[in-house]
């Protein structure tokens, strides 16, 4: 089975080969077949390649390694390895409650219509601030974390629905009147300021 990555590379190579042929022998375009070749090589294939490449870049921008490649995010990456189940991101990451290769995106996407586009737009803003502006110190969310992002997975799950606390506060949690994170229940999140004082989980260590 050909991977999307390989398919894109094959298309890029095909496109480059045809363009090179036209650059070296532009007289080929003097007949009808040559004109069709030029249309494919200089218009159709480059647009297809750019479209597929953009799609690939968009998918890659969801990856944990993409987010953590910025220096400022390094402690947040480390917080995923804290050896303490009270750390919400660490517990989710280490127990694969979220896809580990898309950990940041899974929890920080808005689960609404066009939420993915909004997340990408915020990502572009992060990149702008990182390279051309002054990043916040310490960094924080633009808006308070919405319960909707937690409930996207937890709502309807047995462990959530059978909890007496969750049942009692169900409506307040769903309407975001009471925050899952800041109301005192699950308030240990990345907590990067205290990372030096906690033990980190070493998956390879025995």
């Amino acid at each position: 089975m050909i991977s999307p990555q390989t398919l894109i590379l094959v298309l890029f190579a095909l496109s480059a080969g045809l363009i090179l042929l036209l650059v070296l022998r532009p007289e080929l375009t003097s007949n009808r077949n040559g004109k069709i070749l030029a249309f494919v090589a200089l218009f159709a294939l480059p647009i297809l390649c750019s479209f597929l490449g953009t799609s690939q870049q968009m998918e890659r921008s969801k990856q944990t390694t993409f987010c953590l490649s910025c220096h400022i995010m390094e402690p947040y990456g480390r917080s995923l390895h804290v050896d303490d189940p009270h750390y919400i991101p660490a517990a989710h990451f280490q127990n694969h409650r979220i896809p580990t290769e898309e950990a940041c995106y899974t929890c920080h996407e808005d689960y609404v219509l066009y939420g993915g586009i909004r997340a990408k737009w915020r990502g572009l803003h992060h990149v702008y601030v990182q390279y051309l502006g002054t990043p916040m110190n310490p960094i924080h969310l633009y808006v308070p974390y919405n319960n909707r992002e937690c409930l996207h997975c937890h709502l309807g799950a047995r462990s959530f629905e059978e909890s007496p606390t969750h049942t009692a506060l169900h409506d307040d949690l769903v309407s975001n009147q009471m925050s899952c994170l800041t109301s005192g229940c699950h308030d240990t999140v990345h907590n990067v300021a205290g990372l030096d004082k906690v033990k980190l989980w070493n998956p390879g260590g025995r």
Binding site: Q5, I8, L9, F12, S15, A16, I19, L20, L22, V23, L24, P26, E27, T29, A38, A41, L42, F43, P46, I47, C49, S50, G53, T54, Q56, Q57, R60, S61, Q63, T65, F66, S69, C70, G123, H126, V127, Q130, Y131
Partner: protein, 64 residues
């Protein structure tokens, strides 16, 4: 290799730009980093687009 026909010259120029743009795009696909995304979106695509525009212009100018 000498090209005298102006349309062929434009096609060659378009080919060079599209090729250059595609090379930048494929190079940017090798890294999973925000910089690679920026290079892809703001360098590769504009260069390839410029080549496509030159190609389309060469088609329009063909009628003269």
């Amino acid at each position: 290799m000498t090209v005298h026909n102006p349309i062929e010259r434009r096609l060659r120029l378009a080919g060079v730009f599209v090729l250059l743009g595609l090379l930048v795009e494929v190079a940017a696909l090798r890294w999973v980093q925000p910089v690679a995304f920026l290079v892809f979106a703001f360098v590769g695509i504009p260069i390839a687009s410029l080549g496509i525009v030159i190609y389309l212009y060469s088609l329009v100018s063909l009628r003269r």
